[in-house]
Structures are given as C-alpha cells and as structure tokens.
C-alpha cells in the first residue's frame, strides 16, 4: 500500500516548520509498512487533487499567500471534486485562506480563495500566542498550538475544528477556531501541528491507512505534549 501526499506551493508557503507535519505523517505511515510519496506542486503546475490521498499547505506571509490564492482560486472545481471524494486536506496557518472566500486587505483590495469553505478573512494587526483547545463534540482531549498571524476570519456557518480553552479563536473574542468540513482540516495553528498533537496525527493516519492502521505506543512527541500540558496546568494554579 502507498499513500500519496500533495504538498502545495512549497516555495511560497510552509515556511514555519510546517514540514514537520509531512515528516510526522511519513514516519508514522512507514511504521505501519505504508509507503508515502510526497509530490510538490507550485504556481502554474498541474494539481490533480483527486489522485492524492492528502493535500497539504502550510503557513505563509501575505507575500507568499496572495500569489498562491490567485493560483488556487481557478482550481475550485477540481478541489470540490476532491473534497466530495473524501480526500484529506490539511491547511495550517494562513493556508486556510486558499480554500476560503474573500480575503480583504488593509488597502481595500480583495483576494479570492477557492470558496470551498464558507468563510471570509480580513487583514488585521498582528496576533501571536498559544492556543489550548478541544475538538467540539470529540471529548476533552486538549490540543496545543501557536499562531502568528495578521488575519481574522468569519466562519460562523462552518463546523469549527477547535474550541479554544485558551488563546484566540478565528477572531478576537471568538472561541471557535478553524474549520472541519468533510475531510478538510483548516486551522490558524501553524507549524508542526501533528507533532504537537499526536492524537490528530493518529486520526489522519487512521483515515489514510484504513485496515492497515494499528495504534502506536508512546513516543517523544507524546511525552513532549504531556510535559507542555503539565507546565500549563502548573501556571494556571
């Protein structure tokens, strides 16, 4: 068995340690005896989304995001086909704008996403911080992440990926963060999200591996997360 991953716009996006997500997926699939093939595609390249099992894009500053959005918007039909076929999309940081609606910049110009997600974005002052969150309707497991962004989002009609316990949601004072639609996982959390949250890694790997999936034992990543959560708990007290 093999799993095919499409890595989007590596020259423009994925510059915040996002490659950790690909490393984690590849390594975990390898432990299950599954070959993992990663194909990179940039602006103007062919992107046969439906031929891939997982499509990934990472965080980028606006200078990288805007050309990627311009390239992605005309591919909406192919993206929708892949989404309806259950392909997994993982979008971290500002990459969620690729599949969203309009992004309004400070100077009033508007960039268009592929409109698979019913959300709109605005350029705002920079926010940085840490998120501690749960998954709505999926128990009390805590998820950890960071954001460093100049965007806020209205995604009220979409199912959120996270409910924040601490840190900022899609916009100031929002408790919901990200979008979880079909198999699209879109979040402002940046960087190696799957390393930080081994539970999410397992969820994706289970979907990708199907019958070949076997639960894993503890690793450095689970220890690191436990240590971080314990530190946060101590600070809270």
């Amino acid at each position: 068995m093999s799993v095919r991953i499409l890595l989007l716009y590596p020259e423009h996006m994925g510059l915040s340690g996002d490659k950790g997500n690909i490393l984690a997926l590849r390594h975990r699939l390898h432990t299950l005896g599954i070959r993992c093939e990663v194909t990179a595609a940039g602006i103007g390249d062919a992107m046969p989304f439906s031929e891939f099992d997982l499509i990934y894009a990472g965080n980028a500053p606006l200078s990288g995001l805007l050309p990627a959005m311009a390239d992605m918007a005309p591919r909406a039909a192919a993206l929708r086909e892949a989404m309806d076929a259950g392909r997994i999309f993982l979008l971290t940081g500002s990459a969620r704008c690729l599949l969203g609606g309009d992004l309004t910049l400070r100077d009033g110009t508007v960039a268009h996403g592929a409109r698979l997600l019913a959300e709109s974005h605005r350029e705002v002052n920079r926010f940085t911080g840490e998120i501690l969150a749960t998954r709505p309707g999926l128990g009390r497991t805590l998820y950890l992440g960071c954001y460093d962004r100049v965007l806020e989002t209205d995604a009220a009609s979409e199912r959120p990926l996270f409910q924040t316990v601490r840190g900022m949601g899609d916009k100031a004072a929002a408790i919901y963060e990200g979008v979880f639609k079909n198999n699209i996982y879109a979040t402002y959390m940046l960087g190696p999200l799957l390393v930080r949250n081994p539970e999410l890694l397992e969820e994706l790997v289970e979907k990708l591996a199907g019958a070949q999936y076997r639960p894993r034992s503890e690793g450095f990543d689970t220890e690191a997360k436990a240590a971080r959560l314990s530190l946060l708990e101590k600070k809270k007290r």
Binding site: S16, G17, A24, P61, E130, P192
Partner: protein, 436 residues
Amino acid sequence: MLRLALLLGKLVRFLRRRHSGRSAGALVLALCPDFYSRLSVEGKILMVTGSVGKSSVAAAAVHMLRAAGLRVVSNCESRGLRTGTAAALVSVADCKGRFSCDWLVLEADGRISDAVLSLGKPEILLVTDLFPHHGPASCRSSALKSLIERAAGPDTRLILNALDPGMTDIQPALRHIRYGAAPKAGVHSAINLVGTRSLCPRCGEKLFYSSVFHHHLGQYRCDVCGTQTPPADYLLTDADMTSPAFAVNGVSFRTDLAAPHHYLNRPAATALVCEALNLPVEKAAELCADYHLDPAFYCETQLDGRRIVSLLCRSGNPISFDRGLEYVAARPETKTVLLYTEAAPPPMSADISWLYDTTFELLFKTAETVVCAGDGRLDTAARLHYTGIKRENILVCHDDSQLPAMLGATRGTLYILTGPIAAERIRRLLQKGGRP
C-alpha cells in the same frame, strides 16, 4: 531614579563581576524603564544588525578598533541583548547617565530597537543578513527592515552582505558598501535555507544560485528581471577552511577561525573598521592579527583526555543551529552531540516550528549519540526521531545535574551546541562533575 538605578546597577555589576552582568542590566531596566533615553552619549555610533552573525561581526570590529588605540564601548561583550546592553552601558555611564567614547558599537535587533535608536543615529549601519521566516520575530527581516529604516539618517553609510538577495532594495537612497565572498571561496548546498530564499525579491520569479557560501547565501541571479549578486567592495577569497588564513581584497589575514560559517564575518568586520576609520585593508589585517574568537562562539577544551567543543547555536534560530550542525557533521571522528535547547519566550513558548526548519538530518549517521537537554529537550528529541536516528541513540537528560554522568557514558568528541549562557553553565557543570 536614573541615579539610583545606575548606582545599584554598578554595585550589582561589581558584586557579580564574574557573571555576565545581565542581573545588573535587568535591575536597571526595572528601576528605570526609560534608562536608554536618559543616557547621553558623546561618540560616534556603529550599529550591527541582521538575523545571524551580528555578535561575531561586532566583536571582531570592537577588537580592531581597540587595537587601533580607540576608546570603544559595546554591548557585544554582554550576554543577553536587552539586559546585556543595559549592563554594558551601566558600567561606563557616570551618575548622570553620561559617557563618552570614540565609538559606540551596538549590536541590535527588534528586541532593543527603541533602546538603541534613542542613543543616536549610527554613522555606519552593517547588516549581516535578512531572513524573512527563520528565527525569532525580532531577528526576521520585517523587524530588522523597520529598525534599519528608523536608524538610518541621511548620512548613514550602509554596509550590506552582497550574497543575500534580501538586501536588494534596502534604503536605496543611502550609500551602500558591500562585502561578500568569491564564488569559489566555498560552495555548499544549504538546501534548507536556499529553499526559503528561492524567489527574486524584485519580480517574485525563481532565483538561480550558482554557489552558496555557508548559509550566508551566495551568487544568485534572476533570469527574468536580471537581479543578481552585486559586486563586493570587500571580497573574501582564499578561504579554503583548511589553512589558518584567508584574504580580503587580496590582503592576507591570519585567523583562528574554526568553523566555515565564521569566515564571512571577517570581511564584514573589516569593512566596518576600514569605513569607520578610513583605513586600507592592509591596516585592518594588522589590527586583526591577534584577534581570537570569543569562547562563546567556539570553544575547544580537554577534560580528562576527552575533547569537548562547544559551538554557539541559538535556540529558536534555525540558521544558527544549521551552521553548527553542518560543522559537526563534517568532522570525521566518533562523536557525541549535546543539543541544549530552550523553549521560546512567551507568548510563543509552545512554538517548536524552528526545530522543523533546522536540518537535524545532518546528525543522521554522523553522530553516535545525541543527548537532548534544556527545557526544549523533549521537543528536540521528537524532532530527532524523524531524522532516522535510532531511538536508543537519542538520550534525554531531564535534570542538568545528571549531565556529566549521562555524557560520561557516551563516546568520542563531545560537541555542545547551545547558546552562550547555557554553554558556560554546562562547561562549569562538566568541570565540577569530572570526565563526561
């Protein structure tokens, strides 16, 4: 309050004179938050900024200026930029906050931009590199460009690294002086880094690199708009990394430089001093002759027969770590590597992105054992696990006091990769604990 802060700061500096001075700096800033703006400086300012390498360029320049008989004050000899700068200035200021010198050499980034700007406009501003995504926010190009814009006066001369395409359109109205390395001076792949600097800063098309010089980037060209590496006014040549010599503009320099990534900092410091004092390069070579790299950057010792090498690698800065890892990986002997990493400061304490922008894969099959310590130890161990290094070869030390014992069970040369403060602490621990 300034007088009290200065008095107490000087006292703490005296009482803790064997330490880095950061506590004095922290005390002064706590007592007098507007400390910098209340200082009065009589002297010319040289400022060194950039994502990586500013400390070593500033340190070499300070040595050369002092060797020329000039009175120099600098923050580059202190540990910790914010508190270290305050500590350095406390020791030279009088009770009214005045001090005079021939040159004030300031290492600066986004952490202390307001502080250094309140001291005055620099005569010369040197920029080592401008990386947009690597390292802490204060060292990224957006923060540094803002600092450069605010710091530069109409007469400020800019010294720029010719090899970095990020410098292409910096303050075009000012006079530019450039330093660089000849294309054959050292070709290295640095794929991870070049991958993030692969687009032309002017037209956004692909940049082609014909050579790369040890993470300071290299000879680039954009075939669409013609942007390319500009000629260097101070050109490093003959740096083959095997002999203790190199040349700048054809003038030979003797050196104790150990790691290839230190070499480009010398033409940078040479440019700074030559431009400041209007000296020929030959004179700079003389001033530099007895300069030795600060042990914080590179320190080689023997402890009970075991060779210990410590290299400055700052947590949170992938370029800084990549340079150290590249050096270690190229050493042929059996080795153990201690990675002492620290978590990012709040509010990004959980940010481990930098670990995944760093090429730890260089240690795969080149290090026998890797020991992870510091409060980033588990995140570092998790990162190493994805490099292919076997789990049994990754040791995690949860308690620093156990480091000597844990390292004692390993073999080969011990390479310590960490920041300057942790490096000093580890060296003391090892000396106290016996053979590692």
